[in-house]
C-alpha cells in the first residue's frame, strides 16, 4: 500500500508530471528498455484482469513497432477481447492516476503491482508529447468508440479528443467486445532475458487459459496458444486481517467506517476477529489517559491518535495478556528484550516439589535461578531478583542439604509460577478463498507449451497465512531435452501471475531455490549451494493478497520467513519428484534393454549359433526366464486424439520360474475430475485417486494386460501413470504399495467426509494466530510415493 499513500499525499503538493518525473524509477519507467516492458505489462495485466473478471477466455495481441529509431520512439499496440470499457469511463480509467480498483479490495489481483494504465498515458505524453489512442467495444453497443487521451497534468484530469465511433472488427460481430490501446513512447526494444518476448512467454506460462500473440519490430510473430479452457477461479475479496494493517490504513478506515462502535468496527470490518476478540482488543488497547467511556463503546471516528497506535500494537501482537497468575488475565505489553521476567506465583504441585528436590539438592543459588528460567515461558527480571534475595537471606547460597533444599523449594513454589504465559488477543485466520492459484495441472501445461521438454513436476501448496495475509506457493520444474545442460537452471518468478523479470538475485523466491540442496535430487550444484545447474527451468509463483516487495520497483519479493519456508518445502517436494523421475527413467531404460535382449538379440544368437553348428534352433523360454529372472511391468499413458481420452495400458510379465500372484494399483486423477472408463478388468477403488486390480495367478512366462481410459481430461493433463503392486516378490517398473500410507490416506478421507461440527461457541474455534487455521497438508507425505525418496 506504500505507493497509494505516497501518491495520495504527494499529489496535492506537486504536479503529477513532476511527481512522475521524480518517481519514475519505482513506477518502472527508469530505463528505456524497462519502460517498454512496464507499459506492456500495465496493458496486458489489465487485459487479463478484465477478462478474468468478465469470465472471458482472453485472446491478446501485442505489437511493438519502431516509429523513429533515431529518437527511440516506439509504438505499442495491445488488443484484447475483454469486456471493454463503457465510453463514459474511458476518460477516468486512462486519465486519472490511481483510478483503478486495486486499492479498495483485498484480494489477489495483478493490478496491485503497477501504477496503472494511466502511467502509460502519462509516459506517452511526457516523452512524445502525443496522446494515447483507446478503442473500446462493449457487448451492449454495436459500434466501438475511439478516442485520444491526453492529460491535463496540472489538474490531474484527462483530456479527450478525436472521439468517434468505429467498427471493432471486420466480421462486425456485434456481440464482440474488447479494448485496444495504442501508445507511442520513448523506449528501447531489446531481446533476451529481460525482454517483451520473455515477459509474454512467462505470462503465457502462468496464464495457460490465455492466447497470446506477439509481433516484434521485425514483424516476427510469436504465438502462445491457449492450452486450457478453464478460467482461473473467480476470487472473492476479503476484509483485511488485523495482522496486516498499518497505522495510516487503520486511521483511514476509522474515518470512513459507518460502524457505530469500535468493537463492531473491529468485528465487521476485519476478517478473523470474533466478538470476544474485538472486545479484548479494545480492552488491551485502552490507555490510562483514555476517556472514561470504554474504548469498545466509543465511536470509531473519535478514537485518538495514541489509542490508534496502541490498537495497532494489539494488532501486531505486541500488546496482550499475561495469563496464569491466579488464573487471571492481566493486560500487558510484551517487551521483547526482557524475555521471561519472573512472576510471583501460587502453590505449585507436589510433583514440582519432587523434581525441585531431586534437581537442586546439593546445588546452589545459581542452579536454582537457572532452573526457574528454564522452566518458565514468561517472568519478570525483578521478581527473579526478589526470589534470589529471599533464598539467599533465608537459606544461603548453597550447596544445600536436603532440609535447605526443601526450604528453597517452598520459596520457589510460593514466588514462582511456571504456568505464566504471555498471550496475544486470539484471532482467527483470514479465509483463503481469496486466492487463485494456477494449480498443478495447469502450470504443467503452461510450462509444457513454453518449453519443449519431457518431465514436468508441479506442486501447489495449501494456502498459508503470514502477518494476516493469506498466501499460497506454487512451484514447477521442467527438465530434459531442449535446455542447456551446463548452465544455471532458468528461474521463472511470478507474483499473482505477474512475471518478475528484474532483481532475480535479491528475491525471496530465488533464495528459496538456492537454499535447497539440489544435488541429492539429481541436479548439479557446484559447492552444494546456490542456483543448481542442468537442463531445467524452475517456476515459483506466489499468490497472495498482499505481495511484499523489497522496493517500490516491485521486482523482488521481500524476505518473509513463512513464505520462504513454504517455497523451500515446495522445492524439496518437487526435487523428490525429479529424483523419482530420474530413477524411473533409468529403470525404464534398463527394462527396455532387457526386452531388446530377449526379443531381438537372444533369438538372433540362437539362430546364428544353430546355423553355424548346423543344429536345430534351441527353445529359448527357459533361457529367457533365467536372463530376466524378474516380474516386469510396463505402462503406457497416451492421449487418444479420436476419443479425447487418455488411454492407459499396463502389462505385467512373469519372467521367473515360479508362479506369481499380484494386485496392481494405479494412480489416476480422480480429484481433478477425471472419469475411469473402458476398465474391462474391473477392480475396485482403493482410496481416492488409486484403483486396484487383482490379477489371476501368473505362471512362469505368462503375461497379463490391464487397459482403461481416463475421460474428462485435456491433452497433456495426465502423461505418466504411477503403478504399484501388492504381492510376492518385486516387480521391475512398479513400486511396492506402502500400506501404512494407504491407511493414513484412508483415515484422512474418512475424517474429511464426516460433517464438520460447527460450534457456535467462538472460543472453541479460536486458533493461535501464528499457526494457519488448518495446518497445511504436507502434500509430500500424503502422496503415495512422497516422503520415502
Amino acid at each position: 500500500m506504500g505507493i497509494a499513500d505516497d501518491l495520495a499525499s504527494k499529489q496535492k503538493q506537486a504536479s503529477i508530471s513532476e511527481f512522475f518525473e521524480k518517481n519514475k524509477h519505482f513506477l518502472g519507467f527508469d530505463t528505456l528498455q524497462r519502460s517498454l516492458i512496464t507499459a506492456i505489462k500495465e496493458g496486458v495485466d489489465n487485459s487479463l484482469d478484465a477478462c478474468e473478471e468478465a469470465r472471458i477466455l482472453p485472446t491478446i495481441r501485442v505489437e511493438v513497432k519502431k516509429v523513429d529509431s533515431k529518437r527511440d520512439i516506439i509504438e505499442i499496440v495491445i488488443v484484447d477481447n475483454g469486456p471493454g470499457i463503457p465510453r463514459d469511463s474511458i476518460e477516468k480509467v486512462f486519465g486519472q492516476l490511481l483510478f483503478g480498483s486495486r486499492f479498495h479490495a483485498i484480494r489477489q489481483s495483478r493490478g496491485q503491482q503497477g501504477i496503472g494504465i494511466t502511467g502509460v498515458v502519462m509516459y506517452n505524453q511526457l516523452t512524445t508529447g502525443g496522446t494515447t489512442n483507446v478503442v473500446s467495444k462493449i457487448a451492449s453497443e454495436s459500434m466501438a468508440v475511439s478516442m485520444d487521451i491526453g492529460l491535463d497534468t496540472k489538474r490531474n484530469k484527462a483530456k479527450k479528443s478525436n472521439e468517434s465511433r468505429v467498427l471493432w472488427n471486420e466480421d462486425e460481430d456485434e456481440q464482440a467486445s474488447g479494448l485496444k490501446v495504442t501508445a507511442r513512447l520513448k523506449a528501447k526494444y531489446q531481446k533476451g532475458r529481460q525482454s517483451v518476448w520473455q515477459y509474454l512467454r512467462m505470462t503465457s506460462i502462468v496464464n495457460p487459459h490465455a492466447d497470446i500473440t506477439f509481433i516484434d519490430p521485425d514483424g516476427e510473430v510469436s504465438h502462445w496458444p491457449r492450452v486450457t479452457e478453464r478460467l482461473p477461479r473467480k476470487v472473492d475479496s476479503i476484509k483485511p486481517h488485523p495482522r496486516g494493517i498499518e497505522l495510516g490504513q487503520l486511521r483511514r478506515m476509522l474515518e470512513i467506517t459507518k460502524q457505530p462502535s469500535l468493537s463492531s468496527f473491529l468485528r465487521f470490518e476485519f476478517s478473523g476477529v470474533s466478538t470476544r476478540a474485538a472486545k479484548e482488543m479494545c480492552e488491551v488497547a485502552e490507555l490510562a489517559e483514555s476517556p472514561k467511556i470504554h474504548l469498545h463503546k466509543r465511536k470509531p471516528s473519535g478514537i485518538k491518535k495514541e489509542e490508534i497506535r496502541s490498537l495497532v500494537e494489539v494488532f501486531q501482537g505486541q500488546k496482550g495478556f499475561i495469563k496464569g497468575y491466579r488464573g487471571s488475565k492481566e493486560k500487558h505489553t510484551y517487551v521483547e528484550g526482557a524475555k521471561k521476567p519472573g512472576m510471583p506465583g501460587e502453590k505449585v504441585s507436589d510433583l514440582m516439589h519432587k523434581t525441585i528436590m531431586s534437581e537442586l539438592t546439593g546445588k546452589g543459588i545459581d542452579d536454582a535461578i537457572a532452573y526457574v528460567k528454564n522452566h518458565t515461558d514468561f517472568y519478570w527480571e525483578e521478581s527473579i531478583q526478589e526470589l534470589e534475595e529471599k533464598i539467599l537471606s533465608k537459606v544461603g547460597e548453597g550447596p544445600w542439604d536436603e532440609n535447605q533444599t526443601d526450604l528453597v523449594s517452598k520459596y520457589m513454589r510460593r514466588e514462582w509460577d511456571p504456568r505464566v504465559t504471555f498471550q496475544e488477543v486470539k484471532l482467527l485466520n483470514p479465509p483463503t478463498d481469496c486466492l487463485s492459484p494456477i494449480e498443478e495441472m495447469l502450470i504443467k501445461k503452461g510450462l509444457s507449451k513454453a518449453i519443449d521438454s519431457r518431465f514436468v513436476s508441479t506442486i501447489t501448496r495449501s494456502p498459508n497465512v503470514s502477518h494476516g495475509n493469506p498466501f499460497q506457493i506454487e512451484v514447477g520444474l521442467i527438465f530434459g531435452k531442449g535446455m542447456p545442460a551446463d548452465s544455471h537452471v532458468e528461474v521463472l518468478r511470478f507474483a499473482n501471475r505477474v512475471p518478475l523479470m528484474y532483481q532475480q538475485g535479491g528475491c525471496l523466491l530465488t533464495k528459496a531455490i538456492e537454499e535447497v540442496s539440489w544435488k541429492q535430487y539429481g541436479l548439479e550444484q557446484p559447492g552444494g549451494k546456490g542456483l543448481p545447474k542442468g537442463p531445467a527451468a524452475v517456476l515459483v509463483h506466489l499468490a497472495s493478497t498482499n505481495v511484499q516487495f523489497t522496493s517500490e520497483a516491485k521486482e523482488a519479493l521481500a524476505d518473509n520467513e513463512v513464505v520462504f519456508e513454504e517455497a523451500k518445502k515446495a522445492m524439496q517436494e518437487m526435487g523428490r519428484n525429479l529424483k523419482k523421475h530420474l530413477a524411473k527413467r533409468k529403470k525404464l531404460e534398463k527394462t527396455r534393454e532387457k526386452f531388446e535382449l530377449i526379443n531381438d538379440i537372444l533369438p538372433a544368437i540362437a539362430e546364428k549359433s544353430a546355423g553355424i553348428l548346423e543344429r536345430p534352433i534351441p527353445d529359448l523360454s527357459k533361457s529367457i526366464t533365467s536372463i530376466m529372472s524378474a516380474v516386469i511391468a510396463e505402462c503406457d499413458t497416451t492421449w487418444n486424439k479420436e476419443t479425447k481420452n487418455t488411454d492407459v495400458e499396463i502389462r505385467i510379465f512373469n519372467y521367473t520360474s515360479r508362479s506369481r500372484a499380484y494386485s496392481i494399483l494405479a494412480k489416476w486423477p480422480e480429484k481433478e475430475g477425471a472419469t475411469l472408463e473402458n476398465n474391462e478388468v474391473g477392480g475396485r477403488k482403493e482410496v481416492t485417486g488409486v484403483w486396484t486390480w487383482k490379477l489371476p495367478t501368473l505362471e512362469p512366462g505368462q503375461q497379463y494386460k490391464i487397459t482403461y481410459s481416463l475421460g474428462g481430461l485435456e491433452k497433456g493433463d495426465w502423461t505418466e501413470t504411477e503403478i504399484f503392486y501388492r504381492g510376492s516378490g518385486d516387480i521391475i517398473g512398479a513400486m511396492e504399495m506402502d500400506e501404512k500410507l494407504v491407511k493414513q490416506i484412508r483415515d484422512q478421507e474418512k475424517a474429511e467426509s464426516e460433517p464438520v461440527v460447527n460450534e457456535e461457541n467462538e472460543t472453541s474455534q479460536e486458533v493461535e494466530h501464528s499457526e494457519p487455521a488448518s495446518p497445511p497438508k504436507e502434500k509430500g507425505q500424503m502422496t503415495l510415493t512422497g516422503g520415502d525418496f
Binding site: I601, I605, S609, I612, K622, T625
Partner: protein, 365 residues
C-alpha cells in the same frame, strides 16, 4: 617358426566358441563366452618361454545384459564371416570387417576398436592367430635400415632379395604385415646388434649421421607402440641371427610400456607373447637418471603420466629392481624428456656422445 593352423583346425576351434553358447541355451541358461581376463592383473611370467602370458583367470561374458549379449552375437557374426573367407579363399583387413558389420543388424559394431578387440578375443580364446582368421591389420609396419638382407615374397609370387642398406631409399625397408617365413626370409647380415627407435625424428637423425654404418647396427623405427609385425621381425632377427636388441625411446611412462611390449609381451597380446616378445632386449634410454645426468630439457609429468607410472608399479612386468628405480625416480623428479631433447647439445651429440656412452656400458661400442 611359423605357427599357422590349418583351416580345418581354425574352424574347429571357432566352433567350440559357438558350441559353448549353443549348449548353454539348450540347457535353458543364458549363452556365455569364456575368455582369459585381459588385464595386467592376469599376466604371469612363463619361465619356460621367458615372456609374460595370460594367467588362469577367466571371465565369463554372459548374455544377461544387453551389452554382453550383443558381444556374443557379434562374435557369432565374426565366426561366420571368417568361415566364409576360409571357404572362399579370401582375406580382409580389420577395417573392412568393421565396415562389413554394418550389414549385421543387431550384431553391428559400434566402433572399429570394438571389432579389433573382438577379433583379439577370438584369437585369445581359440589360441589361433588372426592370420588363421584371414584378418589383416591396416596398421603399417615399421622401417628398417642397416646392412641386412631379406627375402620377401612379392604380390606376383616371386621372392625378392632386398638389402636394407643398398636396395632401399632414405625411408628404409618397409616391413610387411605378414613376416612369417612363408612370406619373409632372413637371409644374411653384417651387423652387431639391432637398435629399435621410438620416434621417426630420431630414426632419421641416426641415418643422417651414418650411425648404422659407424656402429654396425640395424635400425628399426617403432612408430610409437610397435605393430605386431614389427615386434615379430625384431624377435626373428634376434633369434635367427642371434643378435642383441637395444631399445631407444623417450623417457616417459608410455615409452616404458613400448619397451615392455617388445621385451616382455604386451598385455593385449599376451596370448601370443612367445611369438612377439624378445626377452633379451635391453632398454638403452632415455632413462630417468639420464634426465638429470645429461640435464635434459624436460616437461612436467601430466596427471595421466603419473597415473600410468603408479599403475606400472603394480604391473608384474616391471617388478625387477632396475625398473622399479626408473619408475620411482621419474615420479620423484616429476619430469619426462623426449629422445630429441638430446639435441640441446648439438645435432651430433646423440651419435657422438650419448649413444656410444650408453652402448659402451653394454659392451656394444
Amino acid at each position: 617358426m611359423s605357427r599357422v593352423r590349418s583351416n580345418e583346425q581354425t574352424k574347429e576351434h571357432l566352433h567350440k566358441v559357438v558350441a559353448e553358447m549353443y549348449d548353454k541355451m539348450v540347457k535353458g541358461e543364458a549363452p556365455t563366452m569364456t575368455l582369459p581376463v585381459r588385464t595386467k592383473n592376469n599376466i604371469t611370467f612363463d619361465s619356460k618361454l621367458g615372456v609374460y602370458k595370460y594367467g588362469k583367470r577367466k571371465s565369463v561374458r554372459d548374455a544377461t545384459s544387453l551389452g554382453s549379449a550383443k558381444q556374443l552375437l557379434r562374435a557369432l557374426h565374426v565366426v561366420e564371416f571368417i568361415e566364409d573367407m576360409i571357404d572362399s579363399g579370401k582375406s580382409s583387413t580389420l577395417r573392412e570387417m568393421y565396415y562389413i558389420s554394418e550389414g549385421w543388424g543387431y550384431g553391428k559394431f559400434g566402433s572399429q576398436n570394438d571389432s579389433n578387440n573382438l577379433a583379439e578375443d577370438l584369437e585369445v580364446i581359440t589360441k589361433c592367430m588372426r592370420e588363421d582368421f584371414k584378418l589383416r591389420p591396416e596398421e603399417d609396419g615399421s622401417r628398417i635400415i642397416g646392412n641386412l638382407t631379406i627375402n620377401e615374397l612379392n604380390r606376383r609370387g616371386e621372392w625378392m632379395r632386398i638389402n636394407a642398406r643398398d636396395d632401399v631409399g632414405d625411408s628404409g625397408y618397409g616391413v610387411p604385415y605378414n613376416v612369417e617365413s612363408e612370406k619373409l626370409e632372413l637371409l644374411e647380415h653384417d651387423i652387431d646388434f639391432i637398435m629399435a627407435i621410438e620416434t621417426g625424428g630420431m630414426f632419421d637423425r641416426l641415418i643422417e649421421n651414418g650411425f648404422d654404418e659407424d656402429y654396425r647396427c640395424g635400425l628399426v623405427h617403432l612408430k610409437g607402440q610397435p605393430a605386431r609385425s614389427t615386434r615379430r621381425i625384431i624377435k626373428r632377427m634376434s633369434e635367427e641371427w642371434d643378435l642383441p636388441v637395444v631399445v631407444f625411446t623417450d623417457a616417459d611412462p608410455w615409452s616404458f610400456r613400448i619397451f615392455a611390449s617388445i621385451a616382455f609381451g604386451a598385455i593385449k597380446t599376451a596370448h601370443i607373447s612367445e611369438y612377439l616378445a624378445t626377452p633379451s632386449a635391453t632398454y638403452l634410454g632415455v632413462t630417468s637418471d639420464d634426465i638429470l645426468a645429461y640435464d635434459l630439457p624436460s616437461d612436467e609429468l601430466s596427471k595421466q603420466d603419473i597415473q600410468a607410472l603408479e599403475s606400472q608399479k603394480s604391473d608384474p612386468r616391471f617388478t625387477d629392481g632396475w625398473w622399479r628405480e626408473q619408475i620411482e625416480m621419474m615420479l620423484e623428479i616429476g619430469k619426462k624428456s623426449e629422445q630429441q631433447s638430446l639435441a640441446k647439445y648439438g645435432l651430433d651429440f646423440v651419435t657422438d656422445t650419448y649413444l656410444p656412452e650408453k652402448l659402451g656400458e653394454l659392451g656394444l661400442a
